[in-house]
């Protein structure tokens, strides 16, 4: 025999509860999205207000980003290399987390930043949550070589996916700045094969200005020639001048 039909109050209760559960899902999604946005911090301006900073090494770049409070930003990096080699004791540093309850985030970041060098300074930037994604801009011709190395194809938009486990990384050959303010790093290795104008024009004309452009002279890197470092320093001066002439948004 069929069960008796639901009474009106119980039907109303069921529909209200169903709607409440769906709304909870929507609220959780919206709330987490807002939490993520709230956790992003553009780099604080320097005392002089300059939007371009020149640093000697990748290690110095990480120190600068931390000092300026850069957090949760997309990082756009122009250069020939990926700079994502973890320090040799990275596993040991993570193992130490268990005994440092409540202070783990600061501890790991301090250790990784202290050990950051030309091979892994972007790895340190990720460990310190300066960047939540990395987009590499490679000089012309290098993207295809990278694609062959990893056995992946460049997609229709010109991007090569290079995820490291769960961290989003991709590479391209054209500097493209989106609607969200990004942290931009220009590595001196770019100037060995890349055209300075390919960076200068998009940066100077960007609709949404980067929160900080860091020019890394790579003085500790054996793969960068002195001439490229000089070109990088000159690029920084030119870019700073172009940006200074343009009114701040």
């Amino acid at each position: 025999m069929p069960a008796p039909a639901q009474t009106l109050p119980s039907r109303t209760r069921n529909f209200c509860l169903a709607a409440g559960l769906v709304l909870s899902l929507v609220a959780a999604a919206v709330g987490l999205g807002a939490y993520g946005r709230h956790s992003r911090h553009g780099c604080a301006p320097a005392d002089g207000g300059g939007a371009v900073e020149v640093v000697r090494t990748g290690h110095d770049a990480v120190a600068l980003w931390r000092a300026r409070g850069c957090a949760g930003q997309p990082l756009v990096h122009a250069g020939r290399f990926l700079h994502f080699v973890p320090p040799e004791d990275a596993d040991a540093v993570l193992r130490d987390l268990v005994g440092r309850r409540g202070a783990g985030a600061r501890y790991v970041c301090d250790r990784m930043a202290a050990e950051a060098d030309w091979r892994g300074y972007l790895f340190a930037a990720v460990e310190c949550d300066v960047a939540r994604s990395i987009e590499y801009v490679l000089p012309q011709g290098e993207l295809r070589a990278r694609a062959e190395d990893v056995g992946e194809a460049v997609d229709g938009d010109g991007f090569l996916a290079l995820p490291t486990e769960s961290f989003p990384r991709r590479a391209t050959e054209a500097l493209r700045l989106g609607d969200e303010p990004a942290l931009v790093a220009v590595h001196a290795s770019w100037f060995e094969r890349g055209n300075p104008a390919a960076l200068l024009e998009p940066l100077a004309a960007a609709r949404v200005r980067p929160t900080l452009v860091t020019v890394v002279l790579a003085e500790d890197s054996p793969d960068v020639a002195p001439a490229a470092r000089e070109a990088a320093a000159a690029f920084a001066t030119t870019l700073a001048s172009r940006l200074a002439r343009r009114p701040a948004p």
Binding site: A18, S24, V98, V108
Partner: protein
């Protein structure tokens, strides 16, 4: 079951649960930490305090990291603190299997037998003593199912919401739990679409709506919220979708973190056709410790014939618990059979409760047709127990010290070129 029989059933389930606890706890405090135990502790801190995934099992969801972090706050970061939840969930799965099996079969004897077989199962014992979350899956699946079945029987909304929460929490630890949840959702949809019959009422739209919301929106909410520490690194919803796709891609091809794993049984289709094994190694204060999980052939090899018997019954009756049991078994097992990546024995813990429920139900029903059914059942239980006895020291890491078992353990020693990894 009569009201008079309920206390006796509860007492027997309690006794089996006590046995399960004793088997899982014996020799555990002070046992060497395995690399996976330590990795789980590191991953818990890495996720909760930093929002970073990994280093262990970054490709799984991460509520388990938050739960392990909370457990170590209570019980410390030693062996017991790290494995506390596996121990609790492992032991709790035993009475839950009794309640589930009784609800599905209507047979208290089958329920007790299934619970006993799980209590002494070497693979389940092994993974109730390790920090990795494989042993958690039967708990979340069975707890969700028990509450959902209770809701269907009584209409209690609290049970429905509890089921949604537990399924969500389970899926936020490991996606495998989603297979059983999908069966429940399918059942709700089928109920709503089937025309009413004299023996079966058709639920009204409001009942279907609240069931779908509780089994859809609620688990998704739990799942989403479990990633809160990761969102705290600045990520948004589009990146969350990217992350889920990345996890799925890795899940599809994951081949373990150690090449030694490829020398172990890594095909799901062998689970119920021949004895299978998995091994973990650690160096303790007194020398090497080897956890060697070997499936009990008396129960595992009876699974497919028993499930065939349940399937035939489901075909005949088209109602009751048999179709549900078959659907659950197939929904959880088949994805692992068809996937091309390696699937190790511990993954079988997700399907083991349904296998044991079928074995117990078939054993009770078949014995009832024989003269002296109690003797036949006693013989089966005795055989399963006798086979489990030598498998127990292997499962809990005392095989090397046990006469007659050392040679067996030596056979799983990694080859020299892999020993240093």
């Amino acid at each position: 079951m009569s009201a008079a029989g309920a206390p006796r059933f509860a007492a027997r389930v309690g006794a089996i649960t006590a046995l399960a606890l004793a088997l899982r706890l014996w020799g555990l405090p002070g046992q060497a930490l395995f690399a996976d135990d330590l990795g789980v502790g590191v991953s818990a801190s890495n996720f909760v305090e930093r929002g970073h995934l990994g280093p262990t099992m970054w490709h799984h969801p991460h509520l388990s990291d938050a739960l392990v972090y909370a457990a170590t706050a209570l019980a410390g970061t030693g062996k017991l603190g790290l494995v506390l939840l596996s121990l609790l969930f492992g032991v709790a799965a035993v009475p839950l299997l009794a309640v589930f099996t009784r609800a599905v079969t209507g047979e208290a004897a089958a329920a007790l037998l299934a619970a006993f077989l799980l209590a002494i199962d070497p693979v389940h014992v092994d993974y109730s003593r390790q920090a990795v979350k494989e042993g958690w899956i039967p708990f979340f699946v069975l707890a969700g199912l028990v509450l959902f079945l209770r809701h269907r029987r009584t209409g209690a909304l609290g049970s429905l919401l509890g089921a949604g929460l537990l399924f969500g929490a389970g899926a936020a630890c490991k996606w495998t739990v989603g297979f059983a949840l999908a069966v429940c959702v399918g059942w709700v949809v089928l109920d709503a679409l089937r025309p009413a019959a004299p023996e079966r009422a058709r639920p009204d739209a409001s009942t279907t709506a609240v069931r779908l919301a509780a089994l859809g929106a609620l688990p998704l909410t739990v799942y989403l919220l479990s990633f809160a520490p990761w969102f705290g690194r600045g990520y948004g919803l589009a990146e969350f979708a990217w992350l889920q796709a990345t996890l799925a891609r890795e899940q599809a091809v994951h081949a373990g973190f150690n090449p030694y794993g490829m020398l172990l049984d890594s095909n799901a289709w062998v689970w119920f056709l021949r004895p299978a094994f998995y091994a973990d190694f650690a160096i303790g204060a007194g020398g090497p410790v080897v956890l060697m999980a070997v499936s009990n052939p008396v129960t595992w090899l009876a699974t497919l014939p028993a499930m065939g018997w349940v399937a035939a019954r489901a075909w005949r009756e088209r109602a009751g618990g048999a179709p549900l049991l078959v659907a659950l078994f197939l929904a959880v097992y088949l994805p692992f059979v068809v996937v091309s990546r390696p699937v190790w024995l511990h993954t079988a813990l997700g399907v083991l409760p349904f296998a044991l429920a079928a074995v117990a139900w078939a054993a009770i029903s078949l014995a009832a047709r024989l003269p002296h059914p109690r003797r036949w059942l006693a013989a089966y239980v005795a055989t399963a127990t006798l086979v489990a006895v030598p498998l127990y020291p292997l499962a809990v890491g005392y095989g090397l010290e046990t006469p007659g078992l050392r040679e067996l353990v030596e056979r799983v020693r990694p080859p020299p070129e892999l020993e240093k990894r």
